[in-house]
Symmetry: C2
Subunit: 501 residues, 2 copies
Amino acid sequence: MAEAKQAPDAYDALLDHYETVSGLGDAAGVLSWDQEVMMPEGGNPARSKQKSAVSTVRHDLLTDEQVADWLDELDDADLTDEQESVVREIRRAHERAARVPSDLVAEISEKTSEAHPKWKEAREEDDFSIFAPVLEDLIELKKEYAEHIDPDADAYEVLFADYEPYLDLDTAERVLERLRDELVPLIEDIRDSDVELADPFDGEFDVDTQEDLARDVLDTLGYDWEHGRVDTAPHPFSSGTQFDARVTTRFDPEKPVDAFMSTIHEFGHARYTLGLPREQYGNPLGESRDLTVHESQSRLWENHVGRSRAFWETFLPEVKERFPQVEDATPEEAFEAANEIFEDNLIRVEADELTYHMHIVVRFEIERELIEGDLDVEDVPEAWNDKYEEYLGIRPENDAEGCLQDIHWSHGSFGYFPTYSLGSVLAAQIHAALEDDVGPVDERVREGDFDVVGDWLESNVHQHGARYTTPELVREATGEDFTADYFLDYVHEKYGELYDL
Amino acid sequence: MAEAKQAPDAYDALLDHYETVSGLGDAAGVLSWDQEVMMPEGGNPARSKQKSAVSTVRHDLLTDEQVADWLDELDDADLTDEQESVVREIRRAHERAARVPSDLVAEISEKTSEAHPKWKEAREEDDFSIFAPVLEDLIELKKEYAEHIDPDADAYEVLFADYEPYLDLDTAERVLERLRDELVPLIEDIRDSDVELADPFDGEFDVDTQEDLARDVLDTLGYDWEHGRVDTAPHPFSSGTQFDARVTTRFDPEKPVDAFMSTIHEFGHARYTLGLPREQYGNPLGESRDLTVHESQSRLWENHVGRSRAFWETFLPEVKERFPQVEDATPEEAFEAANEIFEDNLIRVEADELTYHMHIVVRFEIERELIEGDLDVEDVPEAWNDKYEEYLGIRPENDAEGCLQDIHWSHGSFGYFPTYSLGSVLAAQIHAALEDDVGPVDERVREGDFDVVGDWLESNVHQHGARYTTPELVREATGEDFTADYFLDYVHEKYGELYDL
């Protein structure tokens, strides 16, 4: 442990200033949560202005010249390791924000406001040409944005770093290529297999009862209601701070398993947020590491806990109490239902844990080519459909179910998608390290002990906040460099057994 | 109407800047609403920092020297009447904020954070001495605050102007004295009367059904759900903007009439907010006039609509549909129940529309003496109890039901209470002007037409935003200066008839 040293005045001033920046960021998070979950529809015009006011002043504070001065002063200062980490994170946030001219920030913000309704309309009308012009503009603006941040780097690499700052793009690319190369044949084998998995969750499941069951799942996993709440939202998400981390979920009467899994997934995000050190609230040591690590936490709970046999042995009786209609189901059948591979599914957010990554690979390859200028916007639908055919053996019949299904590009988010797959891959690696440390998790889960997972993750991942970079955190938590080995072993073993391969 | 003129550059710059100030203020409003209505209890530490970040940057922007420069430039500028109003309001907000040193603002904020739990504890323990020291500190700090804003004025006058900037304290005092002088004998007469009003709402009323009924009331009054929502909160309030004005209410199984009235009251506030001009959102022309006018709107709906015979003729059938247990009640009986004078009630928020003002007079007289140094903090309980005995003929047996019942002083809010009574008085004056214009409102209400009230208030009060000062707005809406005549006529007539006086 680093020795306590007297922090330089510039450090204290910087931290004090950053606490306001951070408070504004979290305030914006509350405004967004409210907008998605509570706000009446007519509130939008005022809410946009409120959010814009908060983000403008946050940006002004973050890019203030005083911040640059403090950072300069701290260049050669004698700091503890923790202080060095704090300065590294603030410096990175400051420099990236300061390099982009305000006019361009405003222009991108306006363009995404314009893009969102165009995308919605295009999807409703199933007409990509409605969205194409504004998508083209957004690509140009984001390339310009990347150019300002780092004129020497590949534009896509710079954009990717907005979502995952410390795992370089080469790593991401290598992992995604490996997933493609190994999962495409596995999915083909599953398609060729004669095995039919059980599905005891056939029929209609009352939505209010599903909501009660979602609370049961959260209770079972150990969600801290003193610092959280659950609501429904059209697109489930979680948000908040270590004092107040909320989850949302959604229900479809015909897909109760989806709702469990989505709830467990969001629990994983919230559990990470709640595990951040409370006493560091307002500085990077109290902030989560970026999207890859966040997704690793949600996927670990969703896939390695929620999709396990042990989970269903423990939890199925609770399902039966709420839904006597599945009285005869066995834990093995429920386990199978939670792990079915959907061979004909075209929609990313409805995908199973295997084909999911092919959805990501398609998007990664296309957005990268778009940003690098190797693909024209007008050619996106065909490229999309060709890749679905190549990797998944299915071809969308229209763009609404094809390249118009996701909201991300209309937000100008290019480089976000890969973190979904990187997170799943990391989840398997962290799960292996957890078992290395505490023994087989299934045995504990069978006894209803989920704290073994939550507590270990809190000590080994959450408590570090953003102290370590992503590669450092992976090494700290698992003792190894980031690798897809564990994920691939896990899926080969699990699906090999399930589908008799 | 003023001719369109080219606005000076300083005006446009000021307006642009103020839009951010205003957006931050409304963002803080969302944070508070969420804290009261949705936030899990453990979220408080983070929420305090988020609110403090937003209010600090808002204060910094409002007191910015640039604002002073723009205001100076606009001193002799050729402005339209509307522009003059905008500048008047921004100048006032800027000057008051700029005159108070930041250190003092922070000190008051810290002291109120300390005062709130002390007040709660004192109330729970029924021990005023727990609260007394911090109350004393707060009084000193607020006197200092007033001294900075206007060293030549009476401190209480300056504090009062935080809540009601344009009706001078003399007017307030004159009105409150008149209420005291005329209502004390009226309440005595009622106490001496043999009349017993009917109460068909005896028994227990299911709280969930009461909540459905609250929605019915809001539907009946014409609440715009596209721009609002209703939730429960321990202390009912309303907040928001013309795009999203929310109400809260609360339910007691034994007091269904209280819940109706509280819901109608909060509807009145929200209806005002929703009637502000949307195209002026973000500047004073789109903001409400202060607390007196706001309270006049809630009281007009609550007292002049909700407590009328006509309302119960229209609405009682809806109550019976939800609560068959009151099937035999007549509209006259319901009207009586809504207008009962509670002779033994010690609690302000549970008071009827008559004794309510005596609760206010007690607080006004005491807080004024406290600020002026004519009363020591330690003597507050006795002064309080003596005044209750004098004005209401009842004496609190303990301080929890006496001088510790209200939260306001723990917030450092001295000068707030009088606006409650001023608002009720103004409600009667505005209601008289409305009837002068459209004829007897009861006849329309009996036909279920509540828009006649909402539309008239929107045109004659809401649409003006903060364009006029309070006295100007009163003249604009009623053709007369602010007066208590209408209120006193109204209560003498109504309660004279009800209690056979």
